[in-house]
């Protein structure tokens, strides 16, 4: 009986992240539009877009291979697994121990690997430019991300996300310099990984500035729907990660009673809503960067995270 309950809780988490992903995207777009003095599409527009794309025929290039057709499913599935492993409304779910933070970063790497290969499959210059730039950004962002993981793991003494969240939701950790640096770095990495301004512009189709959009330029129909859904899911994943590591308040950590779960759920949705509103504010206040200035942006994240790790190696008190 307990096992069934645990399975249900895990299932709710898996469904939850997928269900709210387009909504979160819709909120960011709406807020951004309002900031730009536009009315903007309704917040449920991403659901409609995905539904519309699913009912359009998929156009494939003559030389598209099986990899091109399976990659969208693979990207979506892997991103989904990663998102489902982050504690959202409760910790210690049934499979929370099957992958830790390092594995989570690597799972995102798997999705990126598939996406970059899909970009090169048809053999266009746009696909190539997107893949090449995406891997360049990743090669700078992933080490920074791993150093953030190190920071969190050194403070908490574990790399298990569930255990970290449980520990951090008690006040015993307090405010830490290292965690502040890690949050700073995680925000930078999240912006880069989700192809947001100033690294990439999700709304652009101006060739010279595209990264993510260039990779998926040839996609259409249900394949594109999967990729769009995966991108929305990845945004939710990063929001959940920030919420779980740095604002773990309200999560159901101990007993899985109805009240605690409801509170956890409400707190999670509130946190994601706030983050979804904050992102476009940050985005509208800066300009898009030139490609070869990315290393400076991501180098900042890397340096901050590295500093945090060094401080923790020097003394566990930081």
């Amino acid at each position: 009986m307990a096992l069934i309950l645990d399975l249900i809780l895990q299932g709710v988490q898996m469904v939850l992240v997928v269900a709210i992903a387009p909504l979160v995207l819709g909120i960011t777009r709406k807020v951004k539009a309002r900031l730009l003095a536009r009315i903007g599409p309704p917040v449920i527009q991403p659901y409609r877009d995905i539904w519309k794309l699913m009912h359009k025929e998929a156009v494939l290039a003559h030389n598209a291979s099986w990899l091109y057709r399976t990659a969208p499913y693979c990207i979506f599935a892997v991103t989904w697994v990663a998102a489902a492993l982050i504690p959202t409304y409760a910790t210690n779910l049934l499979f929370s121990w099957s992958a830790d933070l390092i594995a989570l970063v690597a799972l995102l790497g798997t999705a990126r690997f598939a996406l970059a290969l899909a970009g090169m499959d048809v053999g266009t210059s746009f696909g190539g430019i997107g893949s090449s730039r995406e891997m360049m950004i990743a090669s700078l962002a992933e080490p920074a991300m791993l150093l953030i993981v190190f920071t969190v793991a050194l403070v908490a003494g574990t790399t298990q996300l569930s255990a970290v969240a449980t520990l951090f939701s008690t006040a015993s950790i307090g405010l830490r310099v290292s965690l502040g640096l890690a949050l700073f770095a995680l925000v930078f990495v999240g912006i880069a990984e989700n192809a947001r301004i100033p690294i990439d512009n999700p709304a652009t189709h101006l060739e010279l500035t595209m990264v993510h959009e260039a990779m998926v330029l040839e996609y259409s129909g249900r394949h594109l729907a999967m990729i769009e859904a995966a991108a929305a899911l990845k945004l939710v994943l990063y929001f959940s990660l920030i919420a779980c590591l740095f604002f773990p308040f309200g999560m159901a950590t101990g007993d899985k009673g109805g009240g605690a779960l409801a509170l956890g759920l409400a707190a999670y949705l509130a946190k994601i809503g706030v983050l979804a509103a904050l992102l476009p504010i940050a985005e509208t206040s800066v300009a898009k960067m030139r490609v070869f200035r990315y290393p400076i942006f991501l180098g900042g994240a890397f340096a901050a995270a590295a500093l945090a790790v060094f401080l923790l190696f020097v003394s566990r008190g930081f």
């Binding site: 025929e57 494939l60 799972l107 048809v122 696909g127 090449s132 790399t159």
Partner: protein, 666 residues
């Protein structure tokens, strides 16, 4: 008993080698089939010895008169026997098909079994004499195979540099064993273990072992021969050189430093760790700049050797501080990576060989679109690429994950040097893991995806079934070792027990076959469940899409934002793919030299763009060295033209000087 079986395997290899000299009945198929069967026997022997955990030793009346020939198989040797013979068996299977492409088979066939014999002999050696003899045999025989295609000038240069580096490495090992044996000359490993050297001698011995074994394994800056010599050999031998022989180098280091020298000091760990971190990062950055597929793989071996040495360095650091559980973790991570790398690097070289065999091209800029023409090779090559990029749920990720876990234990180390260096090395390891993914997106994307860039690539054919079988076995191992890593870790427990004095927790008994490096509250990983999750969510997604979405699919021309260009040269190439990373790291790490020659408006000549990437090891280490040697020999040249009196004076002075040195030493 076991060691007798092992020696019989070596003898059988050598016998096949001799039979290969006889032309006629003992052709390509016979040699590779026989070598494969013997390697399989060696594999079974290694596996049973590793599982049984017993040590088997024998002394034969061969070799030096006063010493005899000592042979021994303990847990460490058994593990490396598994690695060598797994590589040997799959390579032989692959070569049953691939070996037919060889235009001059007699330049490879006699040496191939002897190469396997020598590598087996190195790990079974139990005295310095046998060790060095088989080490040198291994070098010379592989040198002969590197020279198989001797008509190409580049191969001649590669073989020459390999020979110089190998001799230098053996020379360092010779001195190292001299130090370890001491004044009495106890060259048997038992004697060395019984009388460990004094602190100073031990320090020098570690440095010499690092230079000697590191030059064979490919530590920066001793790696320069590796990207030249590995691609020069026929592809199946490249797989052995890169996947297996570098591991024998690692074995030499582990045997000397962990087993013979005995007690580690923190600075040993610091030096090894730092070198490992530098090697990993530089190796993958050089690999990214290559556009010859085999050379890219060879450079990438350097990165993996770096990762292995990071693990070994951590193990030394932990052991010197009596943190035995952590030392066992770090050592297991390193040895797991040894196994993993031998599997996926062999697989990737096999794939590169299949591409080479069917198109005649190694240059990625002249390939493309092979996924359509060689679909099976593409699948296994893709698995190899994903595994080596440390992507879950494959095996490369598990060993890197274990290394990361070992790094996360290290704040407990008391020494400040280590406290500051370990996080830096952790950052380098993270960087190299991310760059490896970029490197293999490039390798797979440019070679197998896109449109064919040359007619040769457009007319490629799927490779033969022996090669495919070998590649599928290795790809299967990549998946198995990634999904069920607990079995590999448990199999490594006897090695960790003997060298790190402790073991990791037993893995197979963990719930759901997870792996738990120290304690479950600290960290755990379960490749099996991750894979099951991926399959479930992928299937669920596909079902949902097929239920709710339209299945209408249309084939059409490439869109490319409305301006498709037919010429396949307009695709992204290997150099253009690497360009952003070259820009980011180029100024710091390489002497990148970009040359742009644009015609002025109105001029009708073609524009030119050239990039030159120089390995800084050549520029900063070997170039000055070579110039120094040349200058010194020029100066010393006039010694040839002395009179007889001057010669005699010179000899007399040298004698006096040596006698003074000996007198001072005593």
């Amino acid at each position: 008993m076991a060691v007798i079986v092992g020696l019989s395997c070596v003898a059988a290899f050598l016998a096949v080698s001799l039979l290969a000299l006889v032309r006629g009945p003992f052709g390509t198929s016979f040699v590779y089939a026989a070598a494969g069967v013997i390697a399989l026997a060696g594999l079974v022997l290694g596996a049973t010895q590793l599982a049984g955990g017993a040590t088997s030793a024998v002394t034969l009346p061969i070799g030096l008169a006063t010493l005899g020939g000592h042979f021994r198989i303990d847990a460490l040797a058994a593990f490396f026997l598994v690695v060598i013979n797994l590589g040997g068996a799959t390579t032989s299977l692959y070569a049953l098909g691939y070996g037919r492409h060889e235009e001059a088979p007699m330049r490879v066939l006699p040496f191939y079994p002897a190469f396997l014999a020598a590598m087996n002999l190195v790990v079974m050696a139990d005295d310095a004499f046998v060790f060095l003899l088989s080490w040198e045999l291994m070098s010379l025989v592989s040198w002969a195979i590197v020279l198989a295609h001797h008509r190409e000038p580049a191969n001649l240069r590669a073989a020459y540099i390999y020979l110089v580096m190998a001799s230098f490495g053996t020379f360092a090992l010779l001195l190292c064993f001299g130090l370890l044996a001491g004044a009495e000359g106890g060259y048997a490993f038992d004697a060395i273990r019984a009388a460990p050297p004094a602190a100073l001698a031990a320090g020098f011995a570690v440095i010499l072992a690092l230079v000697g074994a590191g030059s064979k394994a490919g530590l920066v800056p001793l790696h320069v021969w590796l990207p030249l010599a590995h691609p020069a050999a026929p592809s199946h031998v490249s797989a052995l050189l890169s996947g297996v022989m570098t591991k024998v180098g690692v074995y030499g280091f582990v045997r000397i430093v962990f087993d013979l020298v005995g007690g580690a000091t923190p600075w040993n760990g610091l030096v090894v760790l730092t070198l490992g971190g530098i090697t990993a990062t530089l190796g993958v950055l050089y690999a990214l700049m290559q556009h010859d597929l085999k050379r890219l793989l060879a450079y990438h071996t350097v990165e993996n050797i770096g990762i292995i040495f990071i693990g070994l360095g951590l193990a030394l650091a932990f052991r010197s501080n009596a943190m035995d559980v952590a030392a066992a973790l770090a050592l297991t991570a390193a040895l797991f990576h040894v196994f993993n790398h031998s599997v996926f690097k062999s697989l990737l070289f096999f794939g590169a060989g299949a591409v080479l065999g069917s198109t005649g091209e190694r240059d990625m800029e002249r390939l493309g679109g092979l996924i359509h023409r060689m679909p099976k090779t593409a699948i296994v090559f893709l698995i190899g690429c994903a595994a080596i990029s440390a992507l879950p749920p494959l095996n490369g990720f598990v060993s890197e994950w274990l290394t990361f876990q070992a790094i996360l234990v290290s704040p407990q180390l008391p020494q400040w040097g280590l406290k500051l260096m370990v996080p830096a090395v952790g950052a380098l390891l993270a960087l190299s893991a991310a760059l490896a993914a970029a490197c293999f997106v490039k390798a797979f994307g440019v070679t197998f995806l896109g449109r064919p860039r040359t007619p040769a690539a457009a007319q490629a054919r799927e490779t033969d079934r022996f090669s495919l079988a070998a590649m599928f076995i290795l790809a299967g191992l990549c998946v198995l070792a990634g999904v069920l890593p607990g079995f590999v870790i448990d199999a490594l427990a006897p090695v960790a027990k003997s060298l790190a004095a402790d073991v990791m927790p037993r893995q197979v008994v963990q719930p759901w076959l997870s792996i738990v490096p120290i304690a479950e509250s600290r960290s755990s990983y379960n490749g099996l469940i991750i894979l099951a999750f991926m399959i479930c969510s992928g299937t669920l997604t596909a079902l949902a899409i097929h239920r709710f979405a339209t299945r209408a699919t249309r084939r059409s021309a490439i869109w490319d934002c409305g301006f498709p260009l037919d010429a396949p040269q307009t695709q992204y190439t290997s150099s253009s793919f690497a360009m952003p990373i070259r820009r980011v790291f180029g100024k710091v790490v390489f002497g990148v030299y970009e040359h742009v020659d644009m015609p002025r408006p109105g001029e009708t000549r073609a524009g030119h763009f050239g990039v030159r990437v120089i390995d800084p090891a050549w520029r900063y280490a070997y170039g000055p060295l070579a110039r120094g040697v040349a200058a010194a020999s020029l100066r010393l040249n006039h010694l040839q033209f002395l009179t007889i009196r001057q010669f005699l004076t010179l000899v007399f002075c040298a004698l006096i000087l040596l006698l003074i040195v000996v007198a001072a030493w005593r």
